[in-house]
């Protein structure tokens, strides 16, 4: 927000007219802009140059590479890209809001048909990725953007990867924790599309409950929350589990009836949910199978996207005014009164969180050996955040921030082959 140019340059000025800053993306500032050629509103992501003289950001490059291949109504469109003043700018279609904003907005009532529609669009986007041998690996409501006609699209492919080689090893440090599949939490490095299915199931549950379903405070706690909801898996249920790198035995807890967790859901919804939440990734339902589940053909039918409820647009205009004001008057307000969506909320909370994630990951094995102190360290960590500020709102979502990502980048097994045709 330090620079205030309204246009990018003479060369692109006649094309994109920059407007207010929308937020901070994973690797750069996102601004609203108008494509003066088409009149279309777009979102422009300015990619920060790498600090270590390493040219175009690796994560950004990955997103460009995949999005140029993934053209689908349920995947965010990368419209254009251009260099300007040494920075690369990515032009995306502009999306009004995201699913997290919808879920959190207490003024919105989500009918069963609305939930079905959101889930169906999510799965359609995911099915396209998987068909193209791409794992999204960062599915969460915040990354599911919603356009002006209610259409939902998958975004943020900075963690996505091409898969296909069956024994290719990946890092398990993907997804925000609450959406991580159990095989990832047990350190699996040879996972597949099932990880996206698990995350989609968490989103499905979140739509039903209107709060994040499994809010673990550490990786250990995350598994604990999962087992409390679905019962501790028995080896018969998931034979490969005991061979996973970070496997530790958990005390057995039986599964409560799924119905008790989701009292409002239909039988079909519960059936699909349980199939998506299957422990063994080999028997977990695929995205394509999920789309063919009778849940989507039985009543009530999915709401038409254009008729889906959306957060009140008035907020939008208020937002616009606020950021315009900031830009014109000079002083940079560090905490704008109301941050627009896609802004990482509660920066402090996130840094704390990142720190926590990093620490707990580093010591993941120690923790797994179940020392109570480490667990309590984890619980103490966020104490520097003043929770009273948030009132009764849910705690900040764990997310993968750029610090994590650069760490991930290093950790990522850098060798892979993408599937050639056969």
């Amino acid at each position: 927000m330090s620079e205030v140019p309204n246009v990018f340059s003479k060369k692109v000025a006649d094309r994109y007219l920059k407007r207010e800053v929308l937020g901070e993306g994973t690797y750069g500032v996102v601004s609203k802009a108008i494509d003066t050629k088409t009149g279309q509103i777009v979102a422009i992501k300015k990619i920060r140059l790498g600090k270590h003289k390493e040219g175009v950001n690796f994560t950004a490059l990955r997103e460009i590479k995949l999005l140029k291949e993934l053209k689908d109504p349920h995947i965010i469109e990368l419209i254009d890209a251009f260099p300007h003043k040494g920075n690369l700018h990515l032009v995306f279609e502009f999306m009004e809001t995201d699913l997290e904003a919808v879920i959190r907005d207490r003024n919105i009532v989500l009918s069963l048909a609305d939930i079905k529609s959101f889930l169906q669009m999510t799965l359609k986007g995911l099915a396209f990725c998987h068909k193209k041998w791409v794992l999204h690996r960062d599915m969460k409501p915040n990354n599911l953007l919603i356009g002006d006609k209610g259409q939902l699209k998958l975004a943020d492919f900075g963690l996505a990867r091409i898969f296909g080689s069956p024994d290719r090893k990946f890092t398990h440090q993907v997804f925000a924790r609450w959406y991580r599949a159990p095989e990832l939490l047990f350190g699996s490095k040879q996972y597949g599309p099932g990880v996206d299915v698990w995350a989609a199931a968490c989103i499905f549950a979140e739509l039903l409950l209107r709060r994040p379903f499994l809010q673990g405070s550490s990786d250990i706690d995350q598994l604990g929350k999962i087992f409390a909801a679905f019962g501790t898996p028995k080896p018969a249920q998931w034979p490969d589990m005991v061979y996973l790198p970070d496997y530790v035995e958990y005390q057995f807890v039986p599964a409560p009836p799924l119905r008790s967790l989701f009292p409002m859901a239909s039988d079909d919804a519960l059936d699909l949910l349980s199939k998506m939440f299957t422990y063994d990734p080999k028997t977990r339902i695929s995205v394509q199978q999920a789309l063919e589940h009778r849940y989507f053909t039985s009543g009530p039918l999915p709401t038409e996207p254009a008729k889906l409820p959306r957060p009140h647009p008035k907020r939008e205009s208020l937002n616009t005014r606020v950021s315009d004001f900031n830009q014109q008057e000079g002083p940079t307000v560090l905490s704008p009164p109301r941050k627009s969506r896609r802004v990482m909320p509660q920066r402090d909370g996130f840094e704390e969180n990142a720190h926590q994630v990093e620490k707990s990951d580093e010591h993941v094995n120690d923790i797994r050996q179940a020392t109570g102190e480490r667990m309590s360290w984890n619980e103490h960590a966020p104490m520097s955040i003043d929770f009273s500020v948030f009132g009764s709102r849910p705690p900040p979502r764990p997310t993968i921030n750029s610090a994590d990502k650069s760490r991930l980048k290093r950790k990522l097994d850098l060798e892979f082959q993408q599937p050639d045709q056969d």
Partner: protein, 251 residues
């Protein structure tokens, strides 16, 4: 996985030989002929290969880098995009795109080490600047398919695993030509198997007939490869120097 290639940007971007063989007007002005054009690209493919060996990246990264370099010159002039900078930068970008990042610093080190000729010496900042220009020239399409995967699958299917080394080597050599810009990778793989099997007197007619591919195309590719091997013998270092002098870069 077949659907994968056929819906990819790589497939959509395949060109005809005639389109690939267009010498950019700016280069033509300098007297660069089609022969020269091909020669420089081959020379640069070799250079990328040597750099790749030194910075220790997989063959796949080298192959992607060469493809990037060749795609750049279907759109840009060599007089404007110095091949001696485009080559290392293509490798730099390909390494990132193939998820095995190479540090620019390391690349620059080997560029210096491998080239006594000062005209090859570029700095990190040059590479980073060119990276952006190459991205633009590629229209940001970065996914490239290669014959290697198909090659191993086909050899296995034909029960010709003893041809692996020879045919793999031939595939590597195809990057000295523009084949990757023109043909689907699996057809290139088949042509290489065809040459290898003929060379080693393996009877593969029945197997080839069972494949549902146009054998005329496979044979054409094979002929192109063999023609290339023939002409390749006559190329000398002097010839390359003379060609580069025509470009008169960095004067």
């Amino acid at each position: 996985m077949a659907a994968n290639f056929w819906t990819s940007s790589h497939y959509k971007q395949l060109l005809d030989q005639e389109e690939v063989d267009v010498v950019h007007p700016l280069d033509k002005e300098k007297g660069v002929t089609l022969e020269d054009f091909k020669l420089i690209k081959m020379h640069m493919a070799n250079y990328i290969g040597r750099l790749g060996q030194n910075v220790k990246v997989r063959q796949r990264v080298v192959a992607t880098a060469i493809t990037y370099m060749r795609r750049v010159y279907t759109r840009k002039a060599m007089t404007e995009y110095d091949p001696r900078l485009v080559a290392p930068t293509s490798l730099y970008l390909a390494a990132k795109a193939e998820e095995s990042t190479v540090q620019a610093r390391l690349l620059v080190f080997y560029v210096r080490k491998l080239n006594p000729d000062e005209k090859y010496r570029y700095e990190i900042k040059d590479i980073l600047e060119m990276e952006m220009k190459i991205l633009e020239a590629l229209n940001y399409y970065l996914v490239v398919f290669h014959p290697y995967r198909a090659l191993s699958q086909l050899l296995q299917d034909a029960n010709l695993n003893d041809l692996t080394q020879l045919s793999w080597g031939i595939v590597n050599d195809t990057y000295k030509m523009d084949l990757i810009l023109i043909y689907p990778p699996h057809l290139i793989a088949l042509a290489c198997i065809y040459i290898a099997s003929v060379h080693k007197d393996k009877e593969t007619t029945a197997w080839f007939e069972e494949l549902r591919v146009d054998m005329n195309v496979v044979k054409n590719i094979s002929m192109e490869i063999l023609d290339f091997y023939d002409s390749h013998r006559t190329i000398t270092e002097d010839r390359i120097t003379t060609t580069f002098n025509k470009l008169a870069l960095r004067s």
